[in-house]
Amino acid sequence: MSKDGMSDRGARGSRAPSERPGSGATAGRDGHARPPARGAANGSTSIAVPERPLPLRAPGGDGVHGGRPPARPRVGYLAERLGLGDDAREFLHHPVPMRTSPLDYLGFLTAFVFASQIVTGMLLATAYSPTVTQAYPSVRAIMASPSGALLRGLHAWGADALIILAVLHLLRVFFIGAYKAPREFTWVTGTLLLSVTIGFAFTGYLLPWDQQAYWATVVGTAMAAYAPVVGGGILHLLRGGTDITGATLTRFYALHVLVLPGLLLLIFAAHFALVLTHGQTEVETRLPKGYRAAHRKGDTADFPHGPYRPFWPYTPAQMTVAVAVVVAILGALAIFVRVPLLAAADPLNRAHYRPVPAWYFYGVYQFLKFLPGRLDGLGMVGLPLLAAVVLIGLPFADRGPARAARRRPFAIGAATLVVIAAVGLTYMGWRGSRGVSGTATVVKNPTFAADIAPIFSANCTTCHGAAAPSGGLSLTSYAGVMKGGRSGAVIKPGDPAGSLLVQALEGRAPNGVPPMPLGQQPLPATDIQTVKNWIQGGAKP
């Protein structure tokens, strides 16, 4: 332990076997000193944790020492019968740092929202019917009552919150280096829990059986087919056939309410046991206000337990406040922001719904737009696989003892870049999925470069781009627009109503040309009017 006894504190509440109270051990496997266990000789350390008599394991308090231990307080009726007396007390009083951060509770909050999902999910399951004909009507029926709408809101927003909290928890653990020895398997089980969480989100997304659910699942499962060799098999297995049908819905429901909860509880038990075993990692530089000065002066009377205090009741109280904040946010979202339920799933897509992935796939979706087509497999399968391997392998590859961010510039820098890229791509995917238009007001005398090109590039050039444009019509340049496509010219200068482009935008084009933009909401009337004004004025460059 270093001289001031603080800079290298180790786990709090660590209860590895070698550190049982009384064993006197103060150094963990990671070489980090730990707060002295109660009952251990405190020696010269400045982190004084009050001594307690040696807890005895023998039930009834006799046997080991051949008599009743004098100082052993009575334990509760239940605690005694469950054999928890000393363990529970030991746990409740284990020293925790006085200064904490709300970020310390991200893991607990994730677990709490999981619990909330289980409760709301069970309630929804009493009214939901997992069949093709009944799924959508049953969700509609749930949404028809205020309590049902609230419940579905809590469950749907909870699913989003869960992914956000789990990712934040992961990032926090990464940035404070808490995944390092001896907590490698806490990290590994955590990443497995994250993948189960994504599995929950993915399977749950289909269950309302509306257009959004159906087509997001069509596209999401289609990505699996890009895996080499086994892709087709995985796709078939997931869908229970070639297409998304009743078989898929039943499969996803079974996964969502039986398979994944079982997996989750198993892995969570391991994760939680490991957290209890190793305790939380402490952030090295965090000390309570005034402690350093008091310590320098040698007057730490205000800090009878050093920079620590007992777990009970401080930590549970803080956790409760954190949970209350999350519940308040979820409740407000569930009450005030209605979770959409679109039209019933139409596998024939007669209404030309344009598939949009779930928001946590926006990043991948956007990334694919930047990749040339033949690298799609890399983006859809290679990248997620690489991410999984890197995440799981991280604590075994990165074995340096440093936890502080400033001593891990490479790891922190790389992770920061990945986070920025992921957030940026997600944002771009979100914008793209909304089909943002170029102008919000009608432009009286528009020019191509300033007013028309932005409208085209926001709504049309995904298909009518420069390379192999749809219908032979490229809308990326003035020349391309005026040249037209295989159906001939699309602009008749001075005649907006007679221009094929306007007819397609207004959904009244002849010869089977569908309403444009294909599969999306029509452009705002203001944008169409701007285009008309431009043509009326002679369609100048």
Partner: protein, 143 residues
């Protein structure tokens, strides 16, 4: 280790392995869907509904409890049934006057299913198509 103990261990491990493999086999047999070519044929109309020279036409039928559809294209070589999902990420394609177009990433396909543009990696999938007594019947995807 004495031979008897080793034998007992290996025997126990072997029994467990066989039992686990049995469960895995039952599970995979049960979960594997039948091949799409074995899907039952569905009547989608008369041959005369698809005169040569007409554009591809979307026809519908019920499969797996949901409505499904294929585009029937009267090509010079005969009637062909195209799956109406893009081969990129299976968004629903539409006949757009001169070609099939996908609204998601802009893939386009010719009347005969060839890729004209966009990220689609392969031509449109074809369904099994059988003509019986002047009726067009559609099965699962064959290519």
């Amino acid at each position: 280790m004495p031979t008897r103990r080793r034998f007992l261990l290996w025997m126990a491990a072997g029994i467990w392995a066989v039992m686990l493999a049995g469960y895995a086999a039952v599970a995979s047999l049960f979960l594997t869907p039948r091949p799409s070519a074995a899907e039952p044929l569905q009547d989608v109309g008369a041959v005369t509904d698809f005169p040569s020279g007409s554009p591809p036409k979307l026809v519908t039928y019920t499969g797996g409890g949901v409505e499904d559809g294929v585009y029937i294209a009267p090509l010079p070589t005969g009637l062909v049934a195209f799956d109406f999902h893009c081969t990129h990420l299976q968004c629903p394609i539409q006949w757009a006057g001169t070609e099939f177009a996908c609204p998601c990433h802009g893939s386009t396909f010719a009347e005969d299913g060839r890729v004209l543009g966009g990220p689609a990696p392969r031509p449109l999938h074809r369904h099994r198509l059988v003509i019986q007594n002047g009726r067009v019947r559609i099965g699962g995807i064959v290519s």
